[in-house]
Subunit: 258 residues, 2 copies
Amino acid sequence: MQTTTVNIIGSGNVAFHLVQHLVNIKSVRIQKIYARNPKAFQQLFDFHLPITNDISSLHPADITILTVSDSSIEEVSQQIPYSNQLVVHTSGTTSFEKIDNKNKRGVLYPLQTFSKTKKNLDFSKIPLCLETEFEKDFVSVQNFANKLSNNIYKISEEQRKHLHLSAVFVCNFTNHLYALGEDICKKNQIPFEILQPLIIETAEKIKNLPPNEAQTGPAIRKDTQTIEKHLELISDSATKEIYALLTNSIQKYNGKKL
Amino acid sequence: MQTTTVNIIGSGNVAFHLVQHLVNIKSVRIQKIYARNPKAFQQLFDFHLPITNDISSLHPADITILTVSDSSIEEVSQQIPYSNQLVVHTSGTTSFEKIDNKNKRGVLYPLQTFSKTKKNLDFSKIPLCLETEFEKDFVSVQNFANKLSNNIYKISEEQRKHLHLSAVFVCNFTNHLYALGEDICKKNQIPFEILQPLIIETAEKIKNLPPNEAQTGPAIRKDTQTIEKHLELISDSATKEIYALLTNSIQKYNGKKL
């Protein structure tokens, strides 16, 4: 298989997991990594990185991946010292048009939650959502993406924005519900680990069952007595409001045809 | 190991999964199952059940498990034709005092989400929360529970009520967020399966990381621009309200010391 050379720009969570994965792929070679603080990024790895804090020293690569924050994409992409090369960003919410148009632009959006503190992440299972400015570049991005993951999707900008929104619901908001659940446990000297099997089963269940069919609990049963008991148990007013709103939403949603 | 005889009262989701598990445990013998509609319950299994629709025909067993709905526990427990035996219910929200006091009362609350349509559930990993009226009965319930699961907890009524509340957050409400996420995908012709790896990783992540440390996304980053873009994308007003409330809650919660 032909070796693909890659420049990585940025040193955040996405860059960390990307680098960790790419070094293990034989047909990919990391040509250069640009980080504002090379030392700090290098320290996260136990192998030597080809890293620089001088973006103007980068040379063209088969693909350049911008992993910087959404608000920096425009400015940083202008500093890339070459043109007419394939440059993709990894943002769920940003148009490829934010990338300076001296290069051939695209998107490689990995749909996952990245934390540096959670190191063992199987990147090959992460869905990669691809888009390119020019149709003829799509195959190049696709070939590269296929080396990284078994889950490749062609996703338009409009779809990607909605996918990112959806991810906020199923990941960020869900995690916050875990935090609220843990809070209730802590206040009552209950080990939060008791809830682990339930949390995993809830997530696993919808692999085969649409979420609205998998819905259980007092809201869907219209068990008013339990709902009222629960509201009495919640001391925090913001948490009480979340309980009431989500309970209402479950009851309304269930009758709704999509 | 000594064989424990069991009577099961009720034919809902908990009874279904309990029976499916108990028949595979050598040291447990299902003595009788009471169901209002024995035929319907029998049809869920490909083996013959000792089942009756006449509760007065039940004989004492080592343990009697009431799996009926919370509101039926009191009435059905009065109809049990024996006394001074161990009778437990499986409810997260109900006091054991709802069980008629002619028997020795307790609770065996399996903390899991049960659907008949999701048949492959590993019961041995389900946390069982135990409580008994009399201290001397606890060992009997514990010995029985140890045959069923590797996750046994002694949980008081007050703790159990809060645990059940917490389960509503991490399971029922979480599942509803999955449903809202799926809704956004459907409206934009995005296959919901794209979100599966993210959903699983979000659930897996908190095995090792406390939820408030695992929090990612625009709310915790205080990324106002993305939050506003998201609110614009949401057409349904109830969903918009959920987005705003959970975003606020994440931002408030993070600074809060527990």
